[in-house]
Symmetry: C2
Subunit: 258 residues, 2 copies
Amino acid sequence: MKKPLILVTNDDGITAPGIRALVDVASQIGEVVVVAPDSPQSGMGHAITVSDPIRLHPAKVFEGIEAFECSGTPVDCVKLAKHVVLKDRVADICISGINHGSNASINIIYSGTLSAAMEASLEGIPSIGFSLLDYSHDANFEAAKPFIKELIEWVLENGMTEGNLLNVNIPNLAREEIKGLKVCRQAEARWVEEFSEAEDPRGQKYYWLTGRFVNKDTGDDTDVVALENGYISVVPSMHDLTHYSAIDKVKDIENISI
Amino acid sequence: MKKPLILVTNDDGITAPGIRALVDVASQIGEVVVVAPDSPQSGMGHAITVSDPIRLHPAKVFEGIEAFECSGTPVDCVKLAKHVVLKDRVADICISGINHGSNASINIIYSGTLSAAMEASLEGIPSIGFSLLDYSHDANFEAAKPFIKELIEWVLENGMTEGNLLNVNIPNLAREEIKGLKVCRQAEARWVEEFSEAEDPRGQKYYWLTGRFVNKDTGDDTDVVALENGYISVVPSMHDLTHYSAIDKVKDIENISI
């Protein structure tokens, strides 16, 4: 049987330990092609590079694995992977991560990791974004690996839903403490920002984004709750932002005349 | 009666003609505060600046209007507007645009204009992203203005739906040719990319993103169809990306064990 073709990307950059862990897992399952940013791109959301040229170079980072580093955003990486690197080859799955830090709940909209996976999903490729709840560079991905392997194999075997995208977050626990996987919805949470204000050496003010995550959601079927209870959260996600239940509520707008 | 406080932003930058048109309209309705990027930020999606300081300066761009230019992304602008500029003042509405070019259908996920509006919606502020289907710098916003004014007043009077976000696209037509407003859903369309490949003066290859918009959606209730028929499209939108109907379909993932 032909081995599946697995496209791997991330947003922490091609040298991050998280993508190395993901390549380790993927290479046990299939043929791996990596196209990832040449520098960290956290918080890039679904940004694309429209006003600048993008560079793409072969990268000897993973032994025996075809890999490229890209000067663009995570979404640019996926676009270049499909149209320049893979061309006539079609990826059976795209996996993004493992992100250093949570992408549960509202983090999905800021996340380069998940936006890269979403971009692949738009191309009809089943896609999964993986994140570990540990922001540190030295995060330990070992406990996560066997779960990630099983989940990739499950998707390759069973296919994906219409949205083609899973947002998977993994609690920062030892393997025996992880209770299993929970399919859930995105919690209604947000970041409450504060800005650190300071002066540069020339006396000019600048601001630095900081903040804390606040979960306003009281439901028990959310990714945040699953993670708090020691489960890996799996949220089927999609790119259609239409608020369907609101369409009737604002229908009166059609009566506006000038 | 107290005049409403209207926060205005965009992604084409504070000197773009589109935001000037929006400020013109807004200042007929209420008190206006502008916080917008100091340079073009198209295609920035929901990017935020996490690894760099952000600058914010008062900008004398609009006569008699409180305005600030910001070195960050459109989403950064909204965060700084709320936490540094407005502080205890609460915006009654946030309007973003008028974007030079369409943000209908899948464009919403790449759009800095809509991401800025979505960020304000997360803060509980009713928000509208406005876009005119003309990419040129010299786009004519006059026909759009009276419709935009009526729509802002409608939202201020009637409130918004739970998602707090409307994606409004305006066909590039003369006023008498615009047939009215249509509440609709996001069309299932995507960009088919090509990359322009070239060599720089040092002989190094680079890539430039290009592509064409392809509508795969056969429904007649979409924003793309409304626009083609001469209507202004209004799509109630939201930040919850959960694919609810898929939750049951992938429930078997919970049976994965290692």
